[in-house]
Amino acid sequence: MSHARLSPRQYLILGLVSLCAPLGDTCLSRGMTGLPEITLAHPFTLIAAVFTPWIAAGIALLICFFASYLTALSWADLTFVLPATAFGNVIVALLARFWLHEPISLERWAGIVLITVGVGLVAQGPSLTERPVAHAPSLAETADMGKEQA
């Protein structure tokens, strides 16, 4: 697989990383604010909270985020994945503006522009540092070798 340019599927994974983390956090926040106050005297109410729809959705989205993030890190550099997926912050700000009709200050618009330019810059470069040669075979390659021997 060539690592210089990403395939549509890999862009989809990066999109999932960008979207799932902020959406998951938003769902958790929405779910927790809707609950009565949870105290240390009644810790089991926290366990019950996990099964409420918003919090369950938040946890599912965060699991999806972590799985996509690990997948992205398996074929792209950390210094590529982190800036590239920061676009999620912009999506949440735009959702807040156009869906929830929250005002966005000039400072925040400046932040949105800077993140967008930063993401555009990093996305145009290679996603993975090319290594010269000989590395230990990955699990997939080991599996290949096993099949060939069989």
Partner: protein, 135 residues
């Protein structure tokens, strides 16, 4: 009867130490997790060969992955501790944006990633952008 009053905010050095603890633990966690995933190999390929169970097994049998997750958990608790003493409007943007820069430095030093001018510029732009957006 005592009148409740807001707890005094910690001094500059204490606030810096709390934010630095979050950034350090977070950076260590990200770098270890990235190193773990590089040692495992392309998860898409592993899944194509061995299925989803094979991919999960490959990740869960990598000790570096657990080291990374432990540091990420430590970063989370450091964040909770800092939020207990400092304002969210300071902790969230400062830690989120500075982590991008420390990750670029750590990625170059420990993961030997090719952090060229493009990636430096991008990391700094996103860092300032996240700060402005979250502040």
């Amino acid at each position: 009867m005592t009148i409740p009053y807001p707890a005094p905010q910690p001094g500059f050095s204490a606030a810096t130490a709390m934010i630095a603890a979050i950034i350090l633990a977070s950076t260590a966690g990200e770098v270890l997790t990235a190193a773990a995933m590089k040692s495992v190999g392309d998860l898409d390929e592993i899944r194509a060969h061995s299925g989803l169970k094979g991919a999960i097994r490959a990740v869960l049998t990598c000790p570096l992955f657990f080291a990374g997750v432990s540091f990420l958990a430590l970063a989370f608790f450091a964040l909770l501790f800092a939020l207990n003493h400092l304002n969210l409007s300071l902790v969230a943007p400062a830690s989120a944006s500075l982590t991008l820069v420390t990750n670029a430095v750590a990625g170059k030093i420990f993961l030997k990633e090719n952090v060229d001018r493009r990636r430096w510029t991008s990391a700094v732009l996103v860092c300032i952008g996240v700060y402005l957006l979250a502040h």
